[in-house]
Subunit: 216 residues, 2 copies
DNA sequence: CCGACTGTGTTAATATATTAACAAGGTTGC
DNA sequence: GCAACCTTGTTAATATATTAACACAGTCGG
């Protein structure tokens, strides 16, 4: 354990958490790194090493107690208390993100979804009303929200983010296909869906070229 | 150049492409690795190295011709011909993905969006009608589609993917929060939006803990 | 045409991440 | 309570990725 965990490790923790949630739902009480490997796609060695960064959570000869490990992971990631967040941009993607997290992600609480288009305001997603962006600062300040998901068109993203940072947001999950400039200390994770698709296409094309060259 | 490019490099190529598209739209003809660095967030050294994997595309003392480099990147990624793809699952996310790519991603052509729910069938996204999944095999086979985006609920994802692979799909962008089992040779990229959010929260909590410990 | 400058492409050095190997701890059956 | 068997946690070896350094090629002003 001890020395700080690297980015790659942190990215895998939520995967472990999800698998544990599923195992617990199926009343599995003990799990080995090998089974976790099958469920996650990462190697068993890597999983053991990842977990060892934060402590010794398993029992030699047996494996990991699912419930106990889940609790530890929640604490490590910081999900042991519900994180409040807002969604900016109530297009199809913003709505999808909001509804999905409300229904399926118990570790976060969406306290507001906002849109610049007044026509959207008033529409409901689950029990949550879409509100005009003008009301956003008050909500974020009052509830001391730190995390925002941004799903506005690329051309508005930087301005929106400037505003968010100005009223106390320190972490942004950015779905707009654009590089955001933020002050030191503000975290931005980019979730550019087009990039994922395009790099996937690279591998498809590699295969096709390989097939073609075999014909010679 | 020569020896094959690594995954990390491939993931950055679409970012370069997007930035180049933007520069060309603004009639910028020449760009240096330093400017690309500002626009992408990657270091200039890394950008030069990435591009050098595939050839020498720049001019020393000057920089890169935007139009020329864009053409090279398209060819490298495999986007020089429109890639056909299907979307399976016409929930909010599936609709968002479909509409976004139809409007903003000229490098792919969505040839069908399918949903198991008959109530969805007939609804239109842009000019594309949502169709029942029963019609999916015919479309994929006739048009020889190789790439699919899967945005169905997690519990159906594996079955859907089995079907897709059976009718010729070799690359899948998976939005369902589940590990997919696929035969050798089929590419799966996972775009789990919850994971991104949760690892972001990790960093927020790290900061907050740091703040707290400062008070002592 | 020459010297100062700019920015690429390549090679070397460093850091990060993954894989492998194994010792130590724990369990189970007899 | 001992022997055979598991599975973790740790340390060592390997591979990948990033950063730094710089030689080389081209431009520009005079």
């Amino acid at each position: 354990m001890s020395k700080k965990a690297s980015k790659s490790v942190i990215k895998r923790l939520p995967v472990y958490l999800r698998v544990l949630d599923n195992l617990i739902r199926r009343d599995v009480e003990i799990v080995s790194s090998r089974v976790l490997s099958e469920e996650t796609g990462f190697t068993a060695e890597q999983i053991r090493k990842d977990l060892a960064h934060f402590g010794a959570f398993g029992t030699r000869g047996t494996g990991y107690n699912t419930d106990y490990l889940r609790g530890k992971l929640l604490r490590i990631i910081g999900l042991d208390r519900q994180t409040k967040l807002v969604v900016v941009g109530a297009g199809l993607l913003g709505k999808a993100l909001t509804r999905y997290n409300m229904l399926k992600n118990p570790y976060v609480e969406i306290v507001g979804i906002f849109d610049a288009n007044p026509a959207e305001a008033g529409h409901e997603i689950g029990s949550l009303k879409i509100r005009p962006v003008g009301e956003m600062p008050a909500v974020i300040k009052e509830q001391q929200v730190k995390v925002a998901m941004v799903s506005v068109p690329a051309e508005f993203a930087q301005q929106v983010v400037n505003d968010l940072v100005g009223i106390g947001i320190t972490a942004i999950l950015n779905f707009a296909p654009t590089k955001l400039k933020v002050p030191e200390g503000v975290h931005v994770h980019n979730a550019d869906l087009t990039n994922e698709l395009q790099s996937l296409i690279y591998y498809v094309m590699q295969d096709e070229n390989k097939q073609l060259s075999k014909l010679h």
